[in-house]
């Protein structure tokens, strides 16, 4: 909506700014300036912890991309996109399209319960899922033994192969309820006539999904993709609570590396370099998603 805010006759043009100022100042001091300082310090190198810093151009960045540590952490972040984003979105889409067009009594209750993981602290989620994966009493191994598949029961979070997907499944558990709720409310907005028209044309359920449901859900898909991908790239608490990057760095993620380099190894400028790269990646991905979906939204109309 185009909004031409008006001033009273004789009202100072700074009046609006006065209302804005307290929030703006706090934001600038405690969020915006620190971000700028992070970017600036990524071009420096500290000679001692509190001493002078020297300007080193892009040296930190070069070092970053020459060592495998950062790249493998970043790779794990991208693996997490599969669990944070791809799995929950496809599962949520499947559930929503299966359920939305039939009036199922009690649906509200299910929806409410599905959404619960979203409001929990990630540390709580981590504690719960560590129990799920517990080698002795965890339900997953108990179930495998009950099936007679004793040989598959193992210490999931201690395994080089399975630790990353195991943490990923906990993340998927958090995210898909959110995706499903989002899509359910989106489908309700698609006019019934569109479905009726396509079923008169003899389209099967899959074609209906492809030609009516999916295009109708573009705004929700864009929100879901953006939110879940950013969450996958930002992940910190969940990994900290579940594995702390172990075993042998197989669940190491960028957020954890930044924390370690900054607050355990005290190399602030190197950690700042990682934070800057991560921030740029997040901004870039958000911009791309935004652009792509703006275009396809226009195409759908």
């Amino acid at each position: 909506m185009q909004n031409k805010a008006k001033r009273y006759p004789g009202e100072s043009k700074w009046k609006g700014l006065l209302y804005l100022l307290p929030a703006l100042l706090l934001y600038l001091i405690f969020t915006f300036l620190p971000i700028l300082e992070t970017i600036r310090s990524s071009f420096f190198q500290a000679e001692s912890l509190y001493g002078a810093r020297s300007f080193v151009w892009f040296q930190n960045y070069i070092k970053l991309f020459q060592t495998s540590q950062f790249l493998s952490a970043l790779r794990n972040n991208f693996v997490f996109i599969f669990f944070y984003s791809f799995l929950p979105i496809s599962f949520g889409l499947f559930l929503a399209s299966f359920l939305a067009r039939v009036r199922v009594p009690g649906m509200r209750l299910f929806r409410t319960l599905y959404f619960i993981p979203q409001v929990l602290s990630m540390v709580v989620v981590g504690v719960m899922w560590r129990w799920m994966y517990d080698p002795n009493i965890g339900p997953i191994n108990v179930f495998l033994r009950w099936l007679g598949l004793e040989q598959f029961a193992q210490a999931w979070l201690g395994s080089f192969t399975f630790a990353l997907p195991a943490v990923g499944m906990a993340a998927a558990w958090v995210q898909y309820g959110f995706c499903m709720v989002l899509f359910l409310s989106g489908i309700q907005r698609i006019p019934e006539e569109l479905y009726e028209a396509t079923s008169l044309d003899g389209a099967n359920a899959f074609r209906q999904f492809w030609h009516v449901t999916l295009p109708g859900l573009i705004p929700e898909l864009s929100v879901a993709l953006m939110t879940t991908i950013i969450a996958a790239l930002r992940v910190f608490d969940l990994v900290f609570a579940m594995t702390k990057g172990a075993p042998g760095g197989s669940t190491e993620v960028t957020g954890l590396l930044i924390y370690r380099w900054a607050f355990e190894l005290n190399n602030h400028s190197y950690a700042a370099t990682m934070a800057t790269v991560l921030t740029l990646i997040i901004l870039l991905i958000s911009l791309v998603i935004r652009r792509v979906f703006k275009q396809s939204e226009k195409g759908a109309l």
Partner: protein, 267 residues
């Protein structure tokens, strides 16, 4: 379309199967927490009592409540003011300021944490709750401003004009005319900011070294490091952390579903 119950059986089967996977970890935590370690000592709440006192969760709870209440109250108030400025007043430089604020809401907190820590330490504020409160207000107002301003913008200008003709000042227009209508939007903001602050982890981990000043999520993480073998005790601790946001969610479902579905990114 009115389906018969028979036709709905596959739907309910699927719904219940999914529900089983959602509730299994939650149920596990609950049943473990009520497990009695040595019968006859405290009864069913033994683990909670131990977590509360021995695990110091009572102390962490107090810290979490203080931080979350102050951050929520100040952030929501300031966001209402700034959202009003963007939505219904003339602000010079608005087209520049809005993207600037949007940035703070999209960028990960890792991008700010290192300078924040250094500044807070040089001010002597690390190991105080201020080191958690101030940055979280700064972060919350970025989302809050965008949230409130898009809401105020959606309200018709005639409301403001009419009230102005009736002799209301800008301040009165906000609190007497707009805020009564904006109550749903502002209560959504309240529950979201409270939840994010309650669950915040990185800042609390970095800024606080003293055990007595920890918040609940960090307290739970350290607790897990020490008592990882005692699952019932840890489960009780986890429930203490989760209960307030769960209760809030049960009472304010509509606000949570609406707020998070509109693309509010979890902090």
């Amino acid at each position: 379309m009115k389906p018969t119950f028979r036709k709905l059986i596959p739907h309910y089967l699927l719904l219940c199967l999914v529900l089983f996977f959602v509730l299994l970890p939650l149920w596990g935590m609950l049943s473990k927490a009520f497990e009695n370690p040595d019968p006859g000592s405290f009864g069913a709440l033994a683990n909670f009592k131990r977590a509360w006192t021995v695990g110091k969760f009572g102390l962490f709870f107090k810290n979490s409540i203080i931080v979350a209440l102050i951050v929520t109250a100040i952030s929501v108030l300031l966001s209402i003011l700034s959202g009003y400025a963007f939505g219904k007043l003339s602000v010079s430089g608005k087209s520049l300021l809005l993207p600037l604020i949007l940035l703070g809401y999209m960028v990960p907190f890792d991008a700010a944490i290192i300078p924040l820590y250094n500044w807070m330490r040089s001010l002597g504020l690390t190991d105080t709750l201020w080191a958690l409160i101030l940055p979280q207000i700064g972060l919350s107002v970025s989302f809050g401003t965008l949230w409130m301003s898009s809401y105020f913008e959606s309200l018709p200008d005639e409301l403001v004009d009419q009230a102005t003709i009736d002799g209301c000042s800008r301040w009165q227009v906000l609190w007497k005319v707009l805020m009564p209508i904006a109550r749903p939007a502002s209560s959504t903001l309240i529950v979201l900011i409270f939840m994010w602050t309650w669950n915040e982890f990185l800042l609390a981990l970095v800024m606080i070294q003293k055990e007595s000043l920890r918040t609940l999520p960090v307290g739970l993480a350290f607790f897990q490091g020490r008592y990882s073998a005692n699952i019932p005790l840890m489960a009780a601790g986890a429930i203490i952390v989760a209960l307030p946001t769960l209760l809030l969610y049960i009472f304010f479902q509509k606000q949570f579903l609406q707020g998070l579905s509109s693309g509010a990114i979890k902090g």
